[in-house]
Every structure is written in structure tokens, then in C-alpha cells.
Symmetry: C2
Subunit: 422 residues, 2 copies
Amino acid sequence: MSSDASLPSADLPLGFQWGAVKAGIKVSGKLDLAVALAPGGANAAAMFTRNRVVAAPIIVGRKHLAATGGRVSAILVNSGNANCMTGEAGIEACIQTCVAAAEEFHCIFDEVFPSSTGIIGVPFPAEKIVAALPSTSDKIGPSAAHAELFASAILTTDTRMKVARAIVGIDATHPDYAGMEFRIFGVAKGAGMIHPQLAAAMPPHATMLVYLFTDLDATPAELEPLLALAAEGSFNSISIDGDTSTNDTVLLLASGASGVKLDATGSGRIGEAFANALGLVCNSLAHQIVDDGEGVTHLVNLHITGAATETDARRVAKAIAHSPLNKTAWSSGDPNWGRLLAAAGYSGVDFDPNTVTVWIGPHLVLANGLRVPEFDEAATHQTMLEREYTIRLDLGVGTAETKFLTCDLTAEYVAINADYSS
Amino acid sequence: MSSDASLPSADLPLGFQWGAVKAGIKVSGKLDLAVALAPGGANAAAMFTRNRVVAAPIIVGRKHLAATGGRVSAILVNSGNANCMTGEAGIEACIQTCVAAAEEFHCIFDEVFPSSTGIIGVPFPAEKIVAALPSTSDKIGPSAAHAELFASAILTTDTRMKVARAIVGIDATHPDYAGMEFRIFGVAKGAGMIHPQLAAAMPPHATMLVYLFTDLDATPAELEPLLALAAEGSFNSISIDGDTSTNDTVLLLASGASGVKLDATGSGRIGEAFANALGLVCNSLAHQIVDDGEGVTHLVNLHITGAATETDARRVAKAIAHSPLNKTAWSSGDPNWGRLLAAAGYSGVDFDPNTVTVWIGPHLVLANGLRVPEFDEAATHQTMLEREYTIRLDLGVGTAETKFLTCDLTAEYVAINADYSS
């Protein structure tokens, strides 16, 4: 596992190529058209935002996955324009780019998976993408440098690219694949409008885009539950501003080029190893997304324990994670546990304030609803000056728990998002 | 109706006295202990926050209202300490102040209604209140100056006091009260942590405190539904930061000193006039609370129409009102309707983006899910530079609607709330 910017090419999954060019969609003139190819095709599983307002590429992408039964040969991602709230014309424009990509990359139209990120409601410049496609040919390849082109081109307000990878070696006792390896490579973009609420086969407009590539051999039906599980503990357990984007997309492609086949049920040794590695890659990308959140100066790991149900624990975590009063307190390292309790109190979850225990980092703050005599405010403040720390809140009700990663709210976030027509 | 700082004393309801002193709870040394008396007693109705975490005075106040069947002779409000998350000791401390107030003001212990606002989780200095009570005697009276003392002492981060009043004259054709008058006077505090979710007879810790005084003659049972109705359209229809406080309280007292009696059912002419006037007073106070919100530079009236149900309309309004991306866009007057649609889209309400229409002030922005050709961005930006304007979003589903008042999110809000241990 690593998220280094410089990737050894040997660590990348086989059966994929990446690349990017400048299509002139971004006013900045930066890379804005990214392509990933699976020349032999790949099996796919996807998750989309639960937002009721859906960008055109999501509508088209879902249709394509349905039509092919989960096969993808090319991913076409543009940044700079989300192609959302663009009506029928937006869908037509998206289809136009898929047609051109199918022609350029010699694949079936339905096997092109489109994604867009950027501003909402601005007519989609399909002609720029169509015009730029031929120039991609000498920018596409299987090397780390190519993968980095892809990772760079999908960014918008991100300050750095987000990649993670895993290599799984199969031990010598395995009857079929002893000594063989398979790989996972993940690429993400995010920054603001991050509170993904992903659901399998549901509509999106994605500001969080995640592409996961593996050379494991697995069917779409096998990939789907494994992706859902990995996303639940990672992308669905983070929040920057509580705003769920209209384009969030997570796409997992399996080329099969490693020669290693997922166990039939996905529950055997290969399945377990893949699930673990996929979870690590997703967690790393989710962490990188929050870490690069707009104006973020502190990352807070909320650990809610002692809940009656996991659903309750998540409701408390989200209420705290979305509370401006808590997020601003974190920006100055203020151990304001009253605001933690107030947010838990309006989460809708039933608990007795007199059984609540709170720790900030290693410091016990509150026990049985009262500030403990040994509470060391200065030391707690010191902990909260660190870039990342954990707040644990035990409700004292049951044994269910959850973890949720979030961040502070700073004047810098306001400045970035108040920027006229950002 | 007026919210002038200088109140003609003649406009205040009869049967009440107000006052305030410095008890030394606020570090600033400002007025921090407010008292309102109903020497002949008053009938009461109250609403409290839905927060699961409840301040001590809420627990005690609810118990007192239950014990007396809704009678109040004295309101005792301190600012500077919320007496919340203070355990049994906090409840004992609150009771101690009620005992002292009952003695000082010669009333029944149960008829003292306590309120606290300020920091959470700090031991409650009952002794300061008990010590200060005797000094209130020459500060209490029925004049406008006395009422202003009360209105000032309950403030915390507010920059100005919030008062509103109404005088209802009964026309010459009324069989019993021709030519008579009754009065309503309302006082509020608020600023941050404002997203009241008030419910009758439910627990609180209140950052929004509202006291309504009328000299109408009405029973607690008559007052309750009228207060609920007025609160729903005012205090329950505003949001500054989406944080629901642990102490929100709205208390309505009726002294009966006007000699005008509410119609038995509350639905006759007097009831109607009272309901209207109470609504106006509550709306004015709610508006003043948002207008004085922490760091607020723009007030936005969200008018959601065309919804299937009022509940749907309110869900959309709240999703937009709590969206940091929308709130920051408003701070710079950015007509970013994409963010409006994105928030509506994740509200959980079912609608078709292609039937949505959006107006910002008088400007049509979006029709049938598409930006209209005549959209005038510069003029819309100009409208959004005004202190207050309306955004109307029609879902195109049904005929239900709602209005919701909210505000922008500014760097100043972050600065105020990031201030260490504010």
C-alpha cells in the first residue's frame, strides 16, 4: 500500500492503459480529458450518488453498464464541466463523446463509460472532447507516468492527485495460484461537496470520482458486493461539508490479466485477500480526499461507540461531522465537548446524556455526562493542534459502533466556495 | 408592530414587570440576570427544543409547569452559563435559585420558571444568582426602560436586543369588549446555534430564548395550540447554522390584566386577532434573530413551491438552508443555481429535475430544469448583493409550499465560532 505520487510501473494492474490531454474545457488550460482503456475489456461494478439530480454521464453510464451486463473497455473523464442540469442536450452531448471514443479506441459504444466533473448547468462542450480524442493516442500507455496523467486530469479544486495501490501475493500453499500476484490501483478526485451517499445502481452527478482497476479475474456479480462493502467503510464514511454531489461515482474494473480468478463465492482465500486489499485502497483514497478537502487544517476521526445499533452510531457521527459549531471549534483546537453533546442530542438518536463518555485523543474529557476532574484542557488543546486525531464518544447504550472521518471548517473553505461562480 | 429599541411604556402588556442586574456570571461584567414578574400570576404555554441533551433549567421548568398546571409568577433568566451537562449538581443549583427567587418575589416555588444560556458543561454558579437577587428589587418595574433591561440581560453573542410588540384594538361591534385593547410584547435572544426544533412539552438546552407576554385572559390549554401555530411559522422556520441548541425555549405568559378574554374555543374574533398578532410578533422576533446571526451578511427567504406535501417542501428548504456550498455562494452573491438543485436533489424528496423552476429575486433563472435564455446573471448578482432577498424554487410536483428564512455562511461566522472556548 502506498499513495506516493511516483508509482513503479510494475505495481500497476495488467490489462489497462491510461492517459490524458488538454481539451480546452478548463479555463486554466490544464489537463482536462482523461482516458483509461482496458484493451481486452474489463468486468465492472459501479456505485453512484443517491442525489435525485443526476448528471448526464451518470444516466448514460448506467445505461451502458446495464446494456453490456457490466463490461467496460474505455473510461472517458472530463473535468471543468459536470454536464449536469443540461437537459436532453447534455445527454446527447455525452452520447456524442462516447460515439467518438468508441471509434477512436476501437471498442463497442456501450463499453465506453463517461464521467464529468466541474460546474453544473453550463452547456457541455462535446465538440472539444471529440476534437481532442485523436490527440490522446500517443499519450496513452501502461506506465506509471501514464497513470499519473490520468490522475492529474480528473482533478478540479484538488491540490494534489490521489492514488493508492495494493499488490497481493498468493502464498505457496494455494492449490491453483501459488506464488502468483494480482494488483489493485485506485485513483480519486474530491475536495469540496464531499458527503458521498453511494448506492449501487442509483443515479448521480459526481464531484467525487473514484476509479479502481484490478487485474483479478472476477465477474460483475462477484465485484458488486465487494465494492459495496469497501465503499461503505471508506467513501460512505467521510464528509467534508455534508453536501452530496450530483455526480459521485465509484467504478471498479477487473481485467482478469493476472490470471488469478476470484473464488466462486468470493468468500474463499482469494476473495478475502481481495476484499482486504480493496478496503485498504479505498480507505487510503477516502483519507486522501478528506486530507485535501477545501480549506481543511484538521482531520477528525469520529469513533462513536456504545450505540444500540450501527445506524444510531452513524447518525450521531454524521450529526457531529455536519455541525458547523463543532467544525469551527476544531479549526482552533477548542475542546468544546458541549458542542459534541449538543450535536449528538439533536441527531435523533435516543440516549441518556448521563451515560456518555468522551475522549479527545488519549484524554478522557467526560464521564457519566460530567467533565472529569482530571480533564487536562491544555493537553487536550495540544492534541487538537495536531493535523489528525480521534474523538471517541461512547453513548453508553449498547455495543454497536462506527468510524467516520471528517474535518474542520475554516475561513479558507468559505473563501474558496464564496469565490464567485467557482 | 414595531421592534424599536425605545418602547413607549403604554404599549406594554399590563400585569407584568421586568428588570435585570449584574450577577457576575458573564466575564464581561455585563447584565446577566434578568427577571420578569407577573405579580398576579400568569397562565403559561411553553415549547422546548427537541434536543436529547437537556439543560437543568429545562428539566426544572417543565416540572414546574406540570406541577402548577401552567402558572408562572416569575421568570428567572441568566446568561453566561447554560447549566447544561452539569448533572445532578446542575439541577440542584437551578432549584436553589428558584427557591431564592420565590422568597425574594413572594411567590410559590413552582411558579418560578428558570432559563439559562451560555457555555455548556461548566458548574452553575447558583450562589452568584442567589446573592444578586435582593439587588433586583429596585431595578424591576413595568416601564419600557425596565423591559429593555430584561431584553439586554438575556443576550450572549447577540449584537443587539430583539423585541417586538403588538396592540390589538377590539372594534365597536364586539358584544363584550368593544373599544378595549390587549397587548403582546415579545423578547428574544439568539445568534448562533440556531436551528430550533421546538416541540410542546419536550426537553431542551436553549440558545434561542423567547419570552412572550400578553395581558389577554386565556387558559394554558387555550394558549398552547396558538403558541404552537405561531412558533411553527416563525421559530421553527429559521436556521442560521443548522445546529439545534440544547436550551431553546419559547414561553408565552398571559396575565389577563387587559380584561379581554379569549373566546372559549380560541376560534372566534378575539382568538383570530390574537393568533394574527402573536404570529406577527413571533415572525418579527424570528427575523431579528436571523438578521443578527453570527457573521450574517445576507438573509435569504427560501420559498419552496410546487411540492407534493408541505413536509417535502420543508425538507428541500432545510437541505438548501443547511448546505455550506449554498450558504457560502450567497455570501458573495453567486447565483449558483446548480448548488440549489444539488441540495434539493439530496434532500430525500422525490422530484424530476426537468420540472424545476427557480427564481432569484424577480429573476427567472431556471425553467424545466434548464437555464433560461434570458437569464441575466449580472442583474441576478446585483439582487444577491442586497441584504435580503427571496429564492423561489418550484418543484413542479404538486401544490404544497413553505417559507423558510436563512442566511449566508461567512468567514466571520467561522472566526466567531472558532474563537477558543467561545
